[in-house]
Amino acid sequence: MLTEQELIHYSRHIILPQIDEAGQEKIKQSKVLVVGMGGLGAPVAMYLAAAGVGHLYIADHDQVERSNLQRQIIHNLNSIGQNKVDSAQSTLKALNPWIQVTSIKQKLGDQELDDLLSKVDAVIDCCDNFKTRFAINRAAVKHQKPLVSGAAIRFEGQLAVFNYTDQSPCYQCLYQPDIQLDENCFDQGVLSPVVGTIGTLQATEALKIITAAGQVADGRLLIYDALNGDFRKIKVTKDANCAICGA
């Protein structure tokens, strides 16, 4: 049951016929893991907190550095040197007192992800390296939980939902595990609001998964090119021989 203050807080959701009070209640009951409290994780966690996701698990083992503040709007000057999850947690609690936030400070390996995926309804991948991306995917497939994947660098972003149904592709149907690339923002840079666009699109897909509003954008990859303001959709199909999700 939503309290009277919650009904006011969420009134702009509840008036949407596709959400309604029942949908907001589902959002309140939901548990979501956000891996990475950097450029993507900042808007994902802030919007999911504002939107009322009842229990947010946030994971990051890094500390806030000055160069993060150019785009990681969940942190601020007072956060420099703090653990990212601690800084994030104070911002999130100030945005919404009705939600629970659990911080995970360690690096996530297969075991930690296995444990976490057993607890949540969905995982949002906001991390910055392929190794963790593949590990998150393995755990999501094992526990049959939807994975909302975002990535951004330079002026580019990508978005996809994996593992939404049995018929959906998984991350490894799209990306080969032998890929030799880990471009990061340190080497390559990133335009500040580009991470915001991909992160907010991830938050939107997460809310659609939780509430069953609209059509979840699975089975496709969205490519965003900020330099010419272009969005493209590429169809992604399940790979029957996928080592992770194949039969």
Binding site: A151, I153, E183, I234, K235
Partner: protein
């Protein structure tokens, strides 16, 4: 004839968003070979790790077959967050 599109970083590096190849190509791999021969920058772009390929707006592989009139798009992998 094959329509070739370049997205994101590749579009920038080649300074071109599309071109038309007026010949027959049996597979994506053969298109890549043709593009590599267009010059140093081209060779560099098409030997990068993780090159992603879509044929007619659907993800494809190096050995994906092509037919006349197909659209082949190349775009880079992204892992940052």
């Amino acid at each position: 004839m094959i329509n070739v599109l370049f997205f994101a970083k590749y579009r920038e590096q080649l300074n071109m968003d599309s071109l038309q190849l007026d010949a027959d190509f049996s597979s994506v791999q053969s298109v890549i070979e043709a593009l590599k021969n267009k010059g140093d920058t081209w060779h560099q772009v098409f030997t990068q790790s993780g090159l992603m390929i879509a044929v007619n707006q659907q993800m494809a592989k190096l050995n994906s077959p092509l037919k006349d009139g197909d659209e082949v798009a190349f775009f880079p992998p992204v892992t940052g967050g």
